[in-house]
Amino acid sequence: MGMTITEKILAAHAGKDEVRAGELISIPVDMILGNDVTAPLAIQEFERIGVKTVFDPDKIALVPDHFTPNKDIKSAEQVKIMREFAQRHGITNYFEIGRMGIEHCLLPELGLVLPGDVVIGADSHTCTYGALGAFATGVGSTDMAAAMATGEAWFRVPATLRLIYYGKPRPWVSGKDLILHTIGRIGVDGARYMAMEFAGETVAGLSQDGRFTMANMAIEAGAKNGVFIPDAITDEYVKARARRSYKFYTSCADADYADIIEINVSEIEPQVAFPHLPENTRGISDVADVTIDQVVIGSCTNGRMEDLRVAASILAGRQVASHVRLIIFPGTQAIYREALREGLLDIFVAAGAAVSTPTCGPCLGGHMGVLAKGERALATTNRNFVGRMGHPESEVYLSSPAVAAASAIAGRITSPEAIMGKGCLG
C-alpha cells in the first residue's frame, strides 16, 4: 500500500520509510509562525521553559497582522512583546508595519514556506501553505513555544480525505466557490482531524491564488491540513521566490484514503455561505433578497492579485450602492503595490470603496470595519460565526470576490452575471 502526499512529507521528516494514519510522531519543523494575538502568549510560555535561545532564528516568522496598525494601547503592548523578542533573539523574519502583510499571503510570497515543508503556525489558517504541496497546520501558542525551543512538534498522522474535482467551471466560479461548496457538502466537521487532498482535472487547472484560497479553508471543515499535489503551476510560483531547496511529493496511486469524494464542478454555481456557519452554503440563484450594509474584499482567503483583479473588473466604471460600505484590503505590501501599478486601487476608490493597508482587522471583528447590532456583511473572508465581525447580533455571509463586488454595487447579494450580463468569463 502506497502513501499519500501528507504521509510522505511526514515520513521524510520523521526519518522513516513510511508512516501510517494514526501513528504518533515527533518531527522537526521547517517554519514556525506566530502573530500579534498568539505569539505574545507563546513568548511567555517559551520563557517559562528556561532555554536561552530559540532553536533557529531563521525558522521563526513573527507577523503583527491581526490588530495592526495597533488599534489600541493593549494591542500596541502585544506587538511590542513580539518586536522585543524578535530583536533579543535575532529573529530574521519579523515584519514591521509598512513591510508586512497578512501572514498567509506573506510567507508564501517571500518563499519562506516551500513544497515538501512541515510548517506549524499559531493561527488556524496556517493550512493555507498546503496549496504549495507542504504539510502545514495550525497549532496553539504553547505548541509554538515548545517548537521555538526544540525545533520539533508532535503530530498524529492524519487519515486523508481525497476530493476529486472534475468538469469545467461555470463563469465566475472560483476556488472560493469550490471550497464553500465542499464545506457545504461535508459539513464543518466533515474532515475533522483529517488531511483534505484536493485533486482532479479542475484543480490541476486552477491558479496558484485559487489553490491558496481552497487550502486556506480546509480548517473550516475541521481538517488538520489541506494539500495539493505540486505541479508546473506550483513551480512557476515557487522558483523565483525560494532561497533554499524544496521537494515535490505526490500521492501513490494505491495510497490509502479514508474516503474519496468526487465533485462535478460544472454543476456548481457561485456560492454564498449564510450565517452562522461556513457549511450553510447555497448557490447564488437560491439566495433570496438579502440586503447588505457592508462588503469586505480581502483577507488570507481572498486578498491576492487574482481576487483584486476580478473585483476590479466588476467595479470598473460603476458605483458602490449608496447604503453600502465597501472595504478592500490587499494581502501584502507587494500585492498593494502591484494593484496600484495595475490601476486597480484607482478603480476601487473611484467606485467609492475604502482601501486599507494589509491587516486581518475586519475579518475577525478586530478593527477597520466592525459591525453594529443588526448589521449584515458579505465578506470574502473565511468565517461567519456569531459575532465574528462585530456585534453578536450582526450577520456575516461569505462569498467569492466576484460575488462580493457585484453585491456591493447592487446593495444586496447578487451574482456577477446580474451586473455584467451573461457570457462574461470570471
Binding site: 504518533l24 502568549l41 511567555q44 508532535w154 475533522r192 475541521g222 465574528r388 462585530g390
Partner: protein
Amino acid sequence: MRQLKGKIWVFGDDIDTDAIIPARHLNTSVPRELALHCMEDADPTFAEKVGEGDIIVAGGNFGCGSSREHAPIAIKAAKVACVIAESFARIFYRNAINIGLPILECPEAVREAKEGHEVAVDLARGLVSNVTLQRTYNAVAFPEFMQAIIGAGGLIDFVKEGLEEGSRHG
C-alpha cells in the same frame, strides 16, 4: 488525577472559539480578564453564573475555528473543572491538553445530560457519571503520549523534562 464533580452547563454543536472568547477581547492574554468574557457569544450571562468546579457539556466539534489558546485559557480561568463533548475540534483539543484543561469525549453522556444535572468525572479511568441520573458512561481514553503530557503538567513542563533529560545524557 483528580476526581471532578460539578453542576453542568449544556451547549449545542459547533461551539466555535469566537463564541468561547470573542476576538474583541483578544488584545490581552491575561487569564482573569479572558475569564470575564468566557462563552460570551454563546451565552452572555455565563461568566456571571458559572461556579468554581462546574462542568461544560457540549455537542460535536466543540472549539472549532481559530487556534486561539485564549479559548481553553478563558474556560480554565473561569474555574470550569472539565469540558465533556461529543467531539472536539483538533486545535482546541491540542490546546486544552497543552494548558492542562481536562477534556473528555463522551457522546453518550452528552446525549442524556440536561442543564443543572450533577456530573462526576474520573479522568484516570475515563469515566463520566451523571449523579442526577445515576448513570455511568465510558469516555474515550487519552493515548499514552497525551497522558505523559498531562502527567507532566502540560506541554511546557513535558518539554522542560525532556530537555533536562537530554542535557543529562549529553
